[in-house]
């Protein structure tokens, strides 16, 4: 089935959250089989910066739900959305 890349948009709880530390925590939180392949950042508004990790998951893993669920539990995360998915 191949692999799927999903670009996520992770919003921090506030503009004060240390994004470098948050990136590390996200990497540690992923379920087995998924891995982060680089981060981008997007300036949103009023000091809020979104983290945009690209996560690689196997196509047969049944979607991005498990990844979303584990990320939303990470300390400092307000919300997670999937911006885009595509086969790689």
């Amino acid at each position: 089935m191949g692999k799927v890349a999903a670009k996520l948009k992770v919003m921090p709880e506030s503009p004060e959250i240390d994004l470098d530390a948050l990136q590390d925590r996200l990497g540690d939180a992923l379920p087995e089989g998924a891995r982060i392949n680089g981060f981008e950042r997007d300036d949103i508004a009023f000091g809020l910066v979104a983290l945009l990790p690209t996560v690689i998951v196997p196509d047969d893993a049944g979607g991005t739900e498990a990844v979303e669920e584990s990320i939303v539990e990470v300390e400092g995360v307000e919300s997670v959305d999937v911006e885009n998915v595509g086969r790689i």
């Binding site: 009023f46 979104a50 911006e83 885009n84």
Partner: protein
């Protein structure tokens, strides 16, 4: 060189009908495959004593290369014609990604449907065509592929076209908006150049059809619809909702309404990329501040729109759905979770109004007792909590949803009609 407009193109169809080969052929014919990849493949093919050019192989090779890279760009397969830059949206095979395709940011504008001439319409063809419709694809280019395997037989081509036309009727896709082309992506017939193998066909090639597509128009003329992702309290500013504008535009001074929370006020400031802007439109990620709206007044899942044309709140709504996977049967009373824009709300399927026969496209049964995997149906839905959603005929961007239960995406659908509370 003048800047050409951009199109997102989905390539859809049943597994093994030649999607990768067609994408590979398009990239190759437009000079978009890196030379070193072609060279490398030629060397390997020669050493193995194989002739021909396996485009699917090239695609695999490119995928490996991308995975080794530092960052992976999902929008990776790109080519251009005289009129457009195309980015190919390569849809994952697994059904659970359908939710992402419905709630995600970048959707395809148009699609190429690949149907193998020797195999005809298959279950996945059906599912993809329905999804294309649900996801708001405007124009469909149908490549009746693998014509080399049926000796370029016109009768077989006509049969396949007829099968696809029936399928399009079923999902109410205007067949006028579809064009049909007999192709062999493997041999190159009618992809970039017309073929001597199909003297009975005088229509455009795939590349010509792509070049002739209408330009996608951003939905700026529609009323503002901005689904709220998060709500913040920022010191010195106050309450800041954040989200991506789906349709319409927003400017400071606009009087807006948040539904279903039913709060509203005047927009004071809008920021995008940390800069204050006078106007924001479709696709823009914004944070903004509204006079008189506190953090507890609004929440994720609300939709922001003009006060004089507020987002609809559904007491019930009627929708057309396709059941993609369900272990048993769906009956009236079933209450899964509906995912629409940023909202996730449990909704009861109050009645199953019509079942549609996949073969004929006609209504198969009025008020059926149940529906199951593979069925298309019209259902009436009652949200268990207030939900803002729009008829897809009016605002398609806010008119589609995915249905999830038991950790799976079990159905996808589009809203036909909303009964407001």
């Amino acid at each position: 060189m003048a800047d050409k407009p951009h199109q997102n193109l989905a390539v859809i169809g049943h597994v093994d009908h030649g999607k990768s080969t067609l994408v590979g052929r398009l990239l190759y014919e437009t000079g978009s495959v890196p030379e070193h990849v072609i060279e490398q493949h030629r060397d390997e093919a020669e050493s193995q004593g194989k002739g021909g050019f396996e485009f699917a192989y090239v695609m695999d090779n490119l995928a490996e290369e991308r995975e080794r890279g530092v960052t992976i760009d999902i929008a990776h397969q790109e080519f251009d014609t005289d009129s457009y830059y195309f980015t190919i949206v390569d849809t994952p095979g697994h059904r659970d990604f359908v939710k992402n395709m419905i709630t995600g940011a970048s959707q395809a504008d148009n699609a190429v449907l690949v149907v193998a001439a020797d195999d005809g319409v298959q279950p996945q063809t059906q599912e993809h065509v329905f999804l294309a419709r649900t996801l708001g694809i405007d124009e469909l280019i149908v490549a009746v592929n693998k014509m080399d395997l049926v000796d370029y037989d016109e009768d077989r081509y006509r049969e396949a076209v007829e099968e696809v036309e029936q399928l399009l009727n079923q999902v109410r896709f205007q067949t006028d908006d579809a064009s049909f082309i007999p192709t062999s992506a493997f041999e190159g017939d009618n992809v970039a150049e017309g073929s001597d193998n199909t003297p009975w066909y005088d229509g455009p090639t795939v590349l010509e059809s792509l070049n002739d597509l209408p330009e996608p128009q951003p939905p700026t003329d529609a009323p503002l619809r901005l689904p709220i992702q998060d709500v913040y309290t920022i010191s010195g500013i106050g309450t800041v909702p954040v989200g991506r504008i789906e349709t319409g535009t927003m400017s400071p001074g606009d009087d807006v309404s948040f539904q279903p929370s039913d709060a509203g006020g005047e927009v004071r400031t809008i920021e995008m990329h940390h800069e204050e802007v006078d106007n924001a439109g479709p696709g823009d990620n914004v944070g903004f501040n509204v006079r008189g709206v506190g953090k507890d007044d609004i929440r994720r899942g609300d939709v922001c729109g003009p006060a004089d044309d507020p987002p609809k709140v559904a007491e019930t709504f009627q929708a057309q759905i396709v059941v993609m996977q369900h272990p048993s049967v769906i009956t009236a009373g079933y209450t899964p979770v509906f995912h629409a824009h940023t909202a996730q709300v449990a909704c009861t399927i109050e009645s199953i109004d019509q079942k549609i026969d996949p073969a004929s496209g006609e209504v198969d049964e009025e008020d059926p007792d149940f529906i199951q995997s593979g069925d298309a149906a019209v259902v009436t839905v009652r949200p268990q909590k207030p939900l803002s959603i729009e008829p897809s005929s009016e605002i398609p961007e806010l008119g589609s949803f995915a249905v999830r239960d038991m950790g799976q995406t079990i159905a996808a659908g589009k809203v036909l009609d909303v009964t407001q509370s």
